[in-house]
Amino acid sequence: MVGSKRWKVGLLYVLAFAVLFVMVFPYLYMVLGSLSPWNEVDRKLIPSSLTLRSYEWLFQGGEDVVPRPWLRAFFNSVLVTSASTLLMLVTAVMVGYALSKVPFKGRQWVNNAILFQMFYPSIILLIPLFLIVRYFGWYNTYWAMILPKAVNLWAIFMYTNFFRSIPDELIEAAKMDGAGHFTIIRRIVWPMSRSITTIIFLFLFMERWVELLWDMLVVNNEKLLTLNVLLAQMFGPYGGYPGPMYAASVLLTLPILILFLLFSKNFKEGMQFILK
């Protein structure tokens, strides 16, 4: 009886690791491809030797072919994503706090508007949004990539729900001590929401980081392209340089992975709230 159970658990772990391998395989393939000699990329699974040539090529801008600002693109991605994510977090905390802890007339109305907007198919807005950005003169600027992505409805929704679980007494007590709303947010609400903030931050950052369509539309100046867009657009012309393609893919993937693994301790806790 015990023997058969142990056997079953063993099999389960074999299965679990096999699946894990499948899930991680494309990442491994990407890294191996970026370290392979150029004549072995996409031809051999395990390269006969490892080389950093692809990365050197990338970090020198690939000058020997056509100069492409890969590092600049990486910097653009970091700038645009960080700014957007920061704004999305700050605005979501503010609005979420207002909707859960500040009783004001019209609160329910705002709440409903957000819910309606969340389920609204945003594709209809794509073309007019582009026109608005152009009208404001933001075409080919960082603003075009940051400001239309400064508020996130899902994040507001999540924070509103989370803040509702914070007891009102805490807020009242702080008010008694003479604290204003901004102080309450900074000193009480924000520190209490660390686990959910981790998750919201990760999701927002990840989604912003991999955005393709919008960033592709509003910017065509090579100096402002994000890494994701540059990678997508250079795919054709660089068909002959798969090594650097993989190196750039690694460059694109690494920051997200590092962030995620850094925060993975808080992951389960926060995820439980999100999935509820």
């Binding site: 026109l131 608005i132 400064a150």
Partner: protein, 292 residues
């Protein structure tokens, strides 16, 4: 005091209000107007054309392709992703140790950029890739993955499944963990064991998770852009031509902004209607079996 609270409330909510006025309300009405014009995104002149855009879209082969391609994607993606994520959730659920580690590991694909994973997939199935070499040399199969109108959508569907399976597994896992032990014990007393237990206890109790995952997966199929854009460009012969590609091509490649907006409106109506039907069918199906 109350007045102050009201002011504070509106002030704190103002980022949302300002944002929505500029980036939601104005574009919304603009879109409703644009859809009835023949504007070409550049010239200052345009005229209203009534329902012409909608009529054109109805008879357009590429719009029709996008319509059917979405359902084709769904047919491949939804069963794969549901079976796969349920499988992963069951594995994680039954592991005695390191649950979190595997959950995080399975979630990793969700973090990959569609561009990066498309590049990898394109490499894995390229002509001289180890996979194709093996298929050619060992089995004599010469497969043109992205050149076949059946395989190309399958490649994309599988890739999307790889990406989302770990995420949906978390939803199933939450469902599995919320099933009380007593239910299983009661079932065991009644002689419900083995596969019967899966069918009569686990699946009905998981119905809410099934419902959520199915609706999410169906909704996802209406918004695919990155993967076909990088992998196939919509080909071969419109086999992977999604709504988003059609809208993008029409508005920003062919500069038919008015027409593109009309297609976007049609797309959202089709999306809404489809999801509505799916919800009704699922609810009816669940209701018939006494699930909720």
């Amino acid at each position: 005091m109350n007045k102050h609270a009201a002011k504070m409330g509106w002030l704190l909510a103002s980022p949302y209000l300002i944002y929505s006025a500029i980036f939601f309300l104005i574009p919304l009405f603009w879109a409703l107007f644009l859809a009835f014009t023949n504007w070409n995104l550049i010239s200052p002149e345009y005229e209203t054309v009534g329902m012409q855009n909608f009529l054109d879209a109805f008879f357009s082969p590429s719009v029709r392709a996008a319509f059917w391609v979405t359902y084709k994607f769904m047919l491949m993606f939804v069963p794969i992703v549901i079976a796969g994520s349920l499988f992963l959730a069951l594995i994680i659920h039954h592991l005695p140790r390191w649950k979190g580690l595997f959950a995080v590991g399975y979630f990793l694909p969700y973090l990959a950029s569609g561009v990066a994973s498309s590049i990898v997939v394109k490499g894995v199935i390229s002509y001289n890739s180890p996979l194709n070499q093996f298929l050619r040399n060992a089995l004599g199969w010469d497969v043109d993955w992205l050149g076949s109108p059946i395989l190309a959508p399958l490649v994309i569907a599988l890739m999307m499944a790889w990406k989302f399976v770990g995420y949906y597994a978390l939803l199933f896992l939450a469902g599995l963990e919320s099933i009380p032990k007593e239910v299983y014990e009661a079932a065991e007393i009644d002689g419900v064991v083995g596969w019967k237990r899966v069918w009569y206890v686990t699946i009905p109790m998981l119905y809410p998770s099934f419902y959520t995952v199915t609706i999410l997966a169906v909704g996802l199929m209406f918004g695919i852009f990155t993967e076909p854009y990088v992998l196939t460009g919509g080909g071969p012969e419109y086999a992977t031509h999604t709504w988003q590609l059609e809208i993008y091509n029409q508005a920003f490649e062919k500069l038919n902004a008015g027409y593109g907006t009309a297609v976007a409106i049609i797309n959202s109506i089709v999306t809404f209607a489809s999801i509505f039907v799916f919800r009704k069918v699922l609810e009816k199906w669940g209701g018939k079996h006494g699930w909720e």
